[in-house]
């Protein structure tokens, strides 16, 4: 049963499930998508998140209890079998185990579970991998669903489309870092993220994304219409790259000519839930076709 909660007089928070899963994320997507289509008066923001969603509204235009009744009705009537998701498959190049990330994380060993190893080594160990290379392979083998955007502008929470037993799970830092480099690739709970801008953070740090996901100058074509790149429902494939490719990508980013490799896709939640492995292979096939 979903929980409906007032977030003061301007927000309704709906927790669909306490635990994460692809199905619940699709459900949040389906309900919020339907809510958008209804164009109710007084709705300010509709924010789907991982296993919940949130609506900001103007109570002068719609009473919170009227809104809750509406949302409950959507919960009962909207089925993930009815929706089709139109989004993008995106190739996201990551330089794992890079010198900048390692320099940053070594500064905060006193806030980490295991002060004697790097975040990658620690995560590989607790997830039962023999080496960090094996962990990197698991991270990059299957694509991720962008299940939520937030924290800071454009940060994508990414949930890997593999069965539960193959999900990688890591704790957050014992105490958050005061510094995380821009474009750091991190992992916390069951989620992979890219930090859009420099700042505080508590996720384990594994590498650096070569290309930005937030660009306030809006120089490159991917940012022409928006300061942020990721969209909820996107499918991200994290691809491990070497330093020479990283440097080449950085050059194009500096010149403002970088463009993500993307392919449009329309899919049903059922396609993913019934056969995650087949869906992943299909996605990667289309992306690099």
């Amino acid at each position: 049963m979903a929980r409906y909660e007032y977030g003061g007089d301007e927000f309704i928070f709906v927790e669909l499930s306490e635990e994460m899963g692809l199905e619940v994320n699709f459900q949040a997507m389906a309900i919020t998508e339907k809510l958008k289509e209804e164009e109710l008066p007084g709705i300010v923001d509709i924010c789907p998140s991982n296993a919940s969603y949130m609506v900001r509204f103007n109570p002068d235009e719609i009473h919170p209890d009227v809104l809750i009744a509406k949302l409950q009705h959507l919960e009962e009537t909207v089925s993930i079998d009815d929706i089709e998701i139109s989004s993008r498959i995106v190739d996201v190049p990551i330089l794992f185990d890079d010198p900048w990330t390692n320099e940053a994380l070594m500064r905060f060993r006193d806030r980490h579970q295991d002060p004697n190893s790097t975040d990658l080594e620690y995560a590989a160990h607790i997830n039962g991998f023999d080496s960090k290379e094996e962990l990197i392979k698991a991270i990059t083998d299957s694509p991720y669903l962008v299940s939520m955007i937030g924290f800071v502008p454009g940060l994508p929470w990414c949930y890997q489309m593999v069965p539960r037993e193959r999900q990688i799970e890591v704790p957050k830092y014992v105490r958050p870092r005061t510094y995380t480099p821009e474009r750091a690739f991190g992992f916390g709970g069951a989620f992979a993220v890219i930090y859009p801008v420099e700042g505080a953070g508590g996720y384990q740090l594994f590498g650096t994304a070569a290309a930005p996901i937030f660009e306030k100058e809006q120089r490159s074509p991917d940012f022409k219409d928006s300061l942020t790149f990721p969209r909820q429902g996107d499918i991200f494939r994290y691809r491990s790259i070497e330093m020479d490719e990283y440097e080449k990508i950085r050059e194009t980013v500096e010149k403002g000519t970088f463009r993500y490799l993307t392919k449009d896709i329309t899919f049903k939640p059922k396609n993913v839930l019934d056969d995650p492995k087949g869906f992943s292979e299909d996605v990667l096939g289309r992306l690099y076709a």
């Binding site: 909660e5 007032y6 977030g7 003061g8 007089d9 301007e10 927000f11 928070f13 927790e15 499930s17 306490e18 635990e19 994460m20 899963g21 300010v44 923001d45 509709i46 924010c47 789907p48 998140s49 991982n50 296993a51 919940s52 969603y53 949130m54 900001r56 109570p59 002068d60 009473h63 919170p64 209890d65 939520m148 955007i149 937030g150 924290f151 800071v152 502008p153 454009g154 940060l155 929470w157 949930y159 539960r164 999900q167 799970e169 704790p171 957050k172 958050p176 916390g188 709970g189 069951a190 989620f191 859009p196 801008v197 700042g199 508590g202 937030f214 306030k216 928006s226 300061l227 942020t228």
Partner: protein, 332 residues
């Protein structure tokens, strides 16, 4: 133009906020004390959403390079023009060459300076508000610095005479002890009953970590109900599967120190939120200083809506006074 001689501690351009982009993780920014902010604009006849300067704790020194109509509202950081004390909550006329400066803060934390026409900076995603974390909005995405030049815009709707002022009963008073009303909920089920009770019964003191992003409080440790953590949530008992944070929501990372998230806060994350400050009292939060104390008071949604209406009625009363001439107080 207005020239910045010295910037004060943190003076930023703020308007009604960057609304409608929460979904992509963009917080609203905007004036922390919306009541005082709105009144400052009303006093100079501006569009209610015009950009003002938000002055925090320590005032700037500003030199006007053209004649202007201005108004100062908010906490009490006593203003002076050319060294002479001038009133707050009143439309003031300044001449080219006049210098505006401030004494030490007496009550409250933030002052709004509205200039007839508004502060003209580029509009980013529908707002002129400064969001320093990402360096967007305002003047180059940052607080003011010495030698900055601010352009006065044309965001004005009404003509108001210098000397028009707000009736005393509509001017908020600030003290050092505050009651902040919240609606309990969100993930409050994660706190033990005893900790829920303690949250409302103790005086929380505001730490130096209190800014536009959020306020952190010191008091005592709160405890979470023991459980096996749900999949994806992370291992700390204060962790939940990452979710959206309402503006004004309060979280207690690791149970140690509650944090109230405000205008420039993160929009989501993995900590259990336990209550949300009602929109009316977010204005009060913006006037609370480090070292002051806060008691949280639990209210129902209907009480929150009633408080909201009361505040709206006050703003309407001010509009009537200023624009319809019915009982407006004009100084000699």
């Amino acid at each position: 133009m207005i020239k910045v001689i010295s910037p004060g501690l943190q003076t930023t351009v703020q308007d009604g906020g960057r609304i409608g982009f929460y979904e992509v993780g963009m917080p609203p920014s905007g004036a922390m004390d919306k009541y005082s902010y709105t009144v400052s604009n009303l006093l100079v006849g501006n569009n209610e959403n015009a950009a003002t300067l938000e002055i925090t704790y320590l005032g700037p020194v500003l030199e006007f390079q053209e004649d202007a109509l201005i108004a100062l509202t908010g906490g009490e950081i006593p203003p002076k023009i050319n060294g002479e004390a001038v009133p707050m909550w009143e439309a003031l006329s300044v001449k080219a060459g006049d210098r505006l400066s401030f004494d030490f803060v007496k009550q409250g934390a933030r002052v709004y300076l509205a200039v007839a026409g508004g502060i003209d900076v580029p509009v980013i995603m529908g707002s002129r508000s400064t969001y320093t974390l990402c360096g967007i909005g305002g003047l180059e995405g940052r607080p003011l610095q010495a030698n900055d030049q601010l352009v006065i815009g044309a965001d004005r709707l009404h003509s108001v005479q210098a000397g028009a002022r707000v009736a005393d009963e509509l001017i908020p008073l600030f003290s050092k002890k505050h009651e902040i009303r919240v609606v309990l909920g969100l993930c409050s089920y994660r706190l033990t009953e005893e900790s829920k009770e303690r949250f409302f019964s103790i005086d929380w003191s505001v730490t130096p970590e209190a800014n536009r992003v959020g306020y952190r409080f010191k008091g005592e440790r709160l405890n979470f109900v023991e459980r096996e953590q749900p999949f994806g949530a992370g291992s700390n008992p204060s962790n939940v599967v990452d979710l959206g944070y309402p503006i004004g929501s309060i979280q207690v990372p690791d149970g140690v120190e509650p944090i109230a998230l405000l205008n420039d806060a993160v929009t989501g994350g993995g900590y259990a939120t336990i209550a949300t400050i009602i929109s009316t009292d977010l204005n009060k939060m913006g006037q609370i200083k480090t070292n002051e104390t806060v008691k949280f008071v639990s209210v129902s949604i209907e009480e929150a809506l009633a408080a909201r209406k009361e505040e709206k009625d006050k703003l309407n009363a001010i509009k009537e006074q200023l624009y319809l001439g019915t009982g407006g107080v004009i100084n000699e």
